[in-house]
């Protein structure tokens, strides 16, 4: 169950605008933990609850130390019932709180599906904005960690298809911090997808500096904003969450073969940043969407659809997809056959009908 991931390559732009200062190393998990702690320190109405998030600190330790620091009224364990967690969060959000809940693993959020789709997503609309639901649903998600069944689902399509939800998936340590803080500050409900395989990825960041940057209002908005994670000119890889490091690695490999590939990290699935995506594809004329979920009726499908709708005449080749197969997520010994890989991405790039 251990895991290392490719760190984002040098092409990653500094996305914060923060003054570079003393830099220390932090993991993705640690950044999320800091974002929670800083949010709770800054706003007494922020609460954290779920299964095993109290004394244990969560099975991934994302809530480590929060109960000790903020008391068990503000970070606490619930009975083992996901619809219960979600439904109680709705009520708390109706009554002045900003709950952050953890669904222990992607597939264990499904019992809460009715609460999410029929209430979280619809309550503000139903009440014409009189009841807003400022809550965050944190979901450790997707695979690549050798997890057993039900622990590796990529469930973003279910949420992204549901109007009313903001759906985010960070791919870098800095984004993990800033996006979680932005999610908690958002007046709208956010599904916050944490790529499990990135939890142990590291970056040189000073979390205290990120806090100051965010609290000074100097972190540019990330909800609805994609970013060019690596600039390039020949083709665009569009990706998010767990697939971004893979896309970056593919771009790096392609560069060795002399192809300049741009990589877009969506960060925000809903709202979608058409502008950044289309600007890139119009420049490069070729695109491959990379995502880990089964491809059929997926976020990748949507990206392909909108890119061809909006950039049709700039396209030299069809927009292709490298996604998971349309099968249940495989067992640990088979998952590497399933996951989008550098090779598979390079194959797709090769398929983009180059004529030189």
């Amino acid at each position: 169950m251990t895991q290392t991931t490719e760190a984002p390559t040098g092409g990653v732009a500094d996305r914060t605008g923060a003054v570079p200062g003393k830099r220390v190393t932090s993991t993705f998990a640690r950044a999320l933990n800091a974002a929670l702690a800083d949010s709770m320190a800054a706003d007494a109405s922020v609460l954290m609850f779920g299964e095993d998030v109290g004394p244990l600190g969560g099975v991934f330790r994302i809530t480590d130390g929060l109960t000790a620091r903020f008391g068990e009224e503000r970070c606490f364990d619930t009975p083992l019932a996901e619809a219960g967690i979600m439904g109680m969060a709705i009520g708390m959000a109706m009554n002045g709180m900003k709950p952050v809940v953890e669904m222990q693993f992607d597939a264990f959020a499904y019992p809460a599906f009715e609460q999410v789709v029929s209430h979280v997503a619809k309550m503000p609309n139903r009440t014409k904005g009189r009841v807003r639901l400022p809550l965050v649903i944190r979901i450790p998600y997707a695979g690549g960690i050798g997890g057993v069944e039900h622990h590796c689902d990529s469930s973003e399509a279910y949420y992204a298809h549901t109007p009313g939800l903001t759906v985010l998936a960070p791919a870098t340590v800095r984004d993990a911090y800033f996006m979680l803080r932005e999610a908690i500050a958002s007046p709208d409900p956010v599904v916050f997808l944490e790529p499990k395989k990135l939890y142990w990825s590291k970056e040189e960041v000073d979390l205290a500096e990120l806090r100051r940057t965010f609290e000074a209002g100097q972190a540019p908005r990330r909800i609805g904003k994609a970013v060019v994670a690596r600039p390039g000119t020949d083709a665009t890889l569009i990706s998010y969450g767990p697939s971004v490091p893979t896309a970056l690695a593919a771009a790096a490999a392609a560069a060795e073969e002399g192809r300049s590939i741009e990589v877009i990290d969506l960060r925000s699935i809903v709202p979608f940043d058409d502008e950044t995506v289309c600007a890139s594809v119009r420049r490069t004329g070729r695109a491959v969407v990379v995502a880990e979920a089964p491809g059929f009726v997926s976020v990748a499908s949507e990206i392909v659809a909108r890119v061809q709708e909006r950039c049709f005449h700039s396209l030299a080749a069809p927009v292709l997809r490298v996604t998971g197969f349309d099968i249940p997520y495989p067992s640990p010994k088979l998952e590497h056959f399933y996951l989008p890989s550098v090779d598979r991405i390079l194959d797709a790039v090769d398929d983009l009908q180059w004529e030189d």
Binding site: L47, E72, E73, F76, T78, P79, A81, A83, G84, M86, G87, M88, A89, I90, G91, M92, A93, M94, N95, G96, M97, P99, P111, E114, Q115, S118, H119, K122, M123, P124, N125, R126, T127, K128, G129, R130, V131, R132, P163, G164, T166, S186, P187, D188, G224, V270, P271, F272, D273, D274, E275, R282, E309, R310, C311, F312, H313, S314
Partner: protein, 400 residues
């Protein structure tokens, strides 16, 4: 009502961890079980029965509640008429259940919250929400018509039992802030079968929050009779499985409802935790106007409940005590008529819906996608209004 003061998960209160399924506590189990017969204070013939646990509410309180009962019946009748006349799409009537409706509303204070279902229109109106705003949903203008915060009444829930969890959340938030809010959450007998019912009761008990769960057992879930829903001795017997007291009450006896629900509300407010109250009543009409109840029950079944009507017995009782005079009765009927007239008038006024609003409240700020879609619709409608044809695009350029 049980006097159990099971402390729930006291850790939340800073006390020593108490309760817990194995710890047992000091209360004998049986204190959590409901009474053998539903609590009844005024029987169908209008006679008072003494119950040592529940004193009869005083005359003024009963008289006030009686007036609301009359209004409630009138509202049900009026709404049914409006559906027949095509002014509303559908109306799930609480005819026969008005005592429950009135009690649910009047036992609460201004700082409390009510969580009603689609059938609880009369409760919502009794709590003070503008009837026309309430009926927005059923008229089809929007999914909810009133501001839940104004009277602390949640939107009427359709997905069964889901609202019980929201009620727990509202109560939990209030408790964390040290407020004295009590939440009364309603559902039907059918809804008790849903998983969310279970999770709500358990969360409420474990977090020891001030919620009164009020089940109107009207013996039917659309066509499905209670015996296909549960074979428990009573629905109130579910309470002990969560470590909270359960109570059963005659749901057509407004006096008993006021006493039992009032006591559960008091207990919740005093930090005594949640209670499950089951009211035994009957759905006198079809599920909604779209339902054909003759397919699954006989007129005889319904007939049997006519003598148990909540209005008759309270009227008899209040008249016998000379609390209810003919003049007062007349005045109450007039008041009810006035409410009905206002509803009629309001529903007969055409409202114009605004399609632009479709995109307004999905997010606090419209996303780029929704801005584009709103603009598309706006253009379509402008074109339709102008009567111009569809502009054709035959350029090879990409759309912006």
């Amino acid at each position: 009502m049980s006097t159990a003061t099971n402390e729930g998960r006291n850790g939340m209160l800073g006390g020593a961890p108490g309760g817990g399924a194995r710890d047992g506590g000091t209360t004998p189990d049986s204190a959590l079980l409901p009474s053998v017969e539903p609590v009844q204070l005024v029987d169908p013939d209008g006679h008072h029965h003494t119950d040592e646990r529940y004193p009869l509410p005083d005359g003024d309180r009963l008289l006030d509640a009686y007036g609301r009962l009359i209004a409630g019946r009138r509202i049900n009748d009026q709404a049914n008429a409006l559906v027949r006349q095509g002014r509303m799409a559908v109306y799930p009537s609480s005819h026969g259940q008005e005592a429950c409706q009135v009690a649910a509303a009047v036992v609460l204070g201004a700082e409390d919250w009510l969580f009603p279902t689609y059938r609880d229109t009369v409760a919502v109106i009794t709590r003070g929400v503008d009837p026309l705003q309430v009926l927005t949903l059923l008229r089809g203008d929007w999914h909810g018509g009133y501001d839940p915060h104004e009277h602390r009444v949640a939107t009427q829930a359709t997905p069964l039992a889901t609202q019980l969890l929201h009620a727990v959340g509202v109560a939990h938030a209030a408790k964390l802030r040290g407020e004295s809010t009590v939440v009364l959450a309603m559902c039907g007998d059918g809804a008790t079968s849903e998983g969310d019912f279970h999770e709500a009761l358990n969360f409420a008990a474990v977090f020891h929050v001030p919620v009164v769960f009020f089940v109107q057992n009207n013996e039917f879930a659309i066509s499905v009779p209670l015996r296909s829903q549960s074979v428990a001795p009573s629905l109130a017997h579910k309470a002990i499985g969560y470590g909270m007291p359960g109570e059963r009450v005659d749901g057509n006896d407004l006096a008993a409802l006021l006493a039992v629900l009032g006591s559960a509300v008091d207990r919740a407010r005093d930090g005594g935790g949640p209670t499950l109250v089951e009211a035994h009543t009957y759905r006198m009409q079809a599920h909604t106007n779209a339902d054909d109840a003759t397919r699954y029950r006989s007129a005889d079944d319904v007939e049997r409940w006519v003598p148990k009507d909540p209005i008759t017995r309270l009227r008899t009782y209040l008249r016998a005590l000379d609390l209810l005079t003919v003049e007062l009765e007349r005045a109450l009927a007039d008041e009810a008529d006035a409410i009905a007239a206002a509803i009629r008038k309001g529903l007969n006024t055409e409202v114009t819906v605004n399609p632009a609003e479709l995109f307004e409240y999905v997010y606090t700020e419209k996303t780029t996608q929704l801005r584009e879609q709103a603009e598309q619709l706006r253009e379509e409608l402008a074109r339709d209004a102008a009567g111009t044809g569809t502009p054709t695009s035959d350029t090879k350029a990409d759309r912006p």
